[in-house]
Subunit: 409 residues, 2 copies
């Protein structure tokens, strides 16, 4: 009995230690999900997850496919993120368990992802094959394919590459057909997800879209037209045209023409109060529109060609990254525009290839990917001082989990 | 050895069962915190916490003091809620562990609570003793008392009852002195939390305040003046006066005069696009102002005297509760105003004492306290159909955790 007593004692110790360490591991990982910052490390097909209140790395989740031009949305409770990889891999990642929860293919080449207002479905826009697919958000099973066919000049049908989608307050999903020059509106509340509106001839080659922060208006950018499409999602009564010749000046040989390193995304447009801050095409300036009549208020010169133009929560500042020749000075610079004065008030030398500023939910700090230096920089948005630096492999897109409660993000 | 073998086997079974059930309990409770709905059950001094995606009760947390007129704010990651009870008890509740994390007294009678932009401090406004206190958000230790003294006619000093506070994008806290007719602005970034501005003679008896959804403007309501105060928090250059004689018509003997059952809170004003929907004082109507010049666009008749006037996310509808004589028909009714047409489009008979509609973050559902029937009702905001009902003891205030990333809420 002495031996067995020792064995029992030893077992007791082992089991209770095992229990305790499981509990400790559990308690170490307790955090709310409303202020997480998820950073894409594109070369490694993984994301890094940060606590953006205390600026601490929580962990990484790998195996997400080719994350060049990855996009991401959050479940309504921000427990999960859904990542669309360029190779058509859709990953559902668990931001509490820090692991992959599901992974499926949506196509061979995917470009965008959105979650339905009711949290039940994911929609993915594909380049290859064209069209869009609807997946169950629990399992990522494909529940519907929308081929998005358009008619070729010879009368035959072909699937269009689609861009988007975006979700609206009425639980619609909106996407555009690049080849079809059309915008489709799908009702996610109805059985079979019918396209309840198809707007034709919206302009030449839609390439990107946004929903205004108030959730009401949809806008689509067109590669080869001098306008943008504007749709009132409350009325769905037709696509208005907004003149963007000013924005496209460089292409039309006005202004200082510089190489177009990237096509600025519409999602990156900043709308602060009644002003929209829009990156010019292939020019070193940010154009300010007033959003009543979409007339130009001012052009603000910046150091490079702006890619992401982001409003600070509260709307007092606009932060702009600059792309340029690799190794140039301008690709190091983040510029801060004062919204009252409509001029650059601060230029931050953030490092080689600084892109994609993303604010914490209340805007006191900014996460920036310093792509050319394999690190993520965190800045104090009041003092413009570097607070913290994290090593990261070719970081690119940064997504704050407060997007979970925003339309079109 | 056989007996000890059995004992060892039994112990093994017991320990592994214990471990497993701990793990199961853990896994059962895994959820993100970005879409929780916290409902105050005022008679029982407790709150009920709901998953607002699946409309499921997660649990209850009790022992929170006198919750008549309780207010609540969330930590930045929405893991914690801070509840100010009327008796001065401040509770920090853990929405993941579903337990009380800390409890301290801020005074003998507290009226409002806010969390600093950096998540580090809680400020509480007190009626008794007057003034405000700053607490450490980790421990609830009081780190600063702000007596908020004003000068009496005889030259002596007294502590004013304060209302507020509200947090701004610049990490300021703003509160008003009821007796002092003043508004103070405290800088939460500076050592010692100095009041950096004190606006005097703002009007007779401030009673409530709000921050506009864009985070820029602060407004203060005045019990005995014909105007409201408006402060540009970017400039802090003085309190402008907004004429509210239209709103106060009933008190001035115009319009249909009915009993003022409750003073409508300013926080409950709905601002949708460029329109503000404001409950009239002691009248059965909602007044619509345009927020450029603060002129009246329209008065919309409703069934009772409106208390909470809430914009649906996306801004397409305004939901209004009605107070009235206990047992009256009007206190059962929730009215839905169409923002485009500026008229009531739907009246819902929700039950006896239906108050405090609160939308889920993307607005597809509404939680309503049916006070006179001891239940919480959940409505589909598209169809106006009752989705679900939960028993609850005298439910009152309802707070969605997406407030964690909003200024002044």
């Amino acid at each position: 009995m002495r031996i067995s007593g020792i064995i029992i004692g030893a077992l007791f110790f082992l089991f209770s230690s095992a229990c305790q360490s499981a509990a400790e591991e559990g308690s170490k990982k307790i955090y709310g999900t409303a202020a997480l910052m998820v950073v894409v490390e594109r070369e490694d097909g993984r994301v890094a997850v940060f606590d953006s209140v205390n600026h601490e790395l929580i962990g990484r989740i790998a195996g997400l496919g080719n994350l060049r031009h990855a996009s991401m949305v959050f479940s309504r409770d921000a427990r999960f993120a859904f990542v669309a990889a360029r190779d058509g891999t859709i990953s559902k990642i668990d931001l509490l368990g820090m692991e992959l929860a599901a992974r499926k293919k949506a196509g061979e080449s995917s470009i965008g992802i959105a979650i339905s207002r009711d949290n039940r479905y994911i929609m993915v826009c594909n380049y290859e094959p064209g069209g869009a697919v609807v997946m169950d958000s629990a399992t990522l099973e494909v529940v519907k394919e929308i081929p998005a066919e358009f008619t070729l000049p010879d009368g035959s049908k072909s699937r269009a590459r689609t861009v988007g989608p975006l979700d609206t307050a009425d639980n619609l999903m909106i996407f555009a057909l690049m080849e079809g020059n059309a915008v489709w509106v799908v009702d996610m509340r109805q059985e079979g997800f019918p396209a309840i509106r198809k707007f034709e001839d919206v302009g030449d080659t839609p390439y990107d879209q946004l929903i205004t922060p108030d959730g009401r208006h949809y806008m689509v950018g067109l590669l080869n037209s001098d306008w943008m499409g504007l749709l009132d999602t409350w009325k769905l009564d037709g696509m208005k045209r907004i003149d963007v010749r000013e924005r496209r000046g460089a292409i039309k040989k006005d202004g200082e023409k510089v190489p177009l390193h990237h096509i600025p995304h519409l999602e990156s447009w900043a709308i602060a109060g009644r002003l929209a801050f829009v990156p010019a095409f292939a020019e070193k300036r940010v154009i300010v529109y007033e959003t009543d009549g979409w007339t130009v208020v001012k052009s603000i010169p910046v150091s490079g060609t702006p890619l992401f133009v982001v409003a600070r929560p509260g709307g007092r500042e606009i932060w702009v990254d600059n792309v340029g020749e690799p190794g140039s000075n301008e690709e190091r610079l983040i510029e801060v525009i004062d919204v009252e004065r409509l001029e650059v008030k601060k230029t931050i030398d953030a490092g080689k290839g600084a892109i994609h500023p993303q604010f914490t939910p209340k805007g006191e700090a900014v996460y920036i990917s310093i792509q050319g230096e394999d690190r993520i920089a965190v800045y104090d948005a009041d003092t413009y001082a570097l607070i913290k630096d994290f090593p990261a492999k070719r970081p690119s897109g940064i997504f704050s989990s407060d997007r979970a409660s925003k339309f079109g993000l």
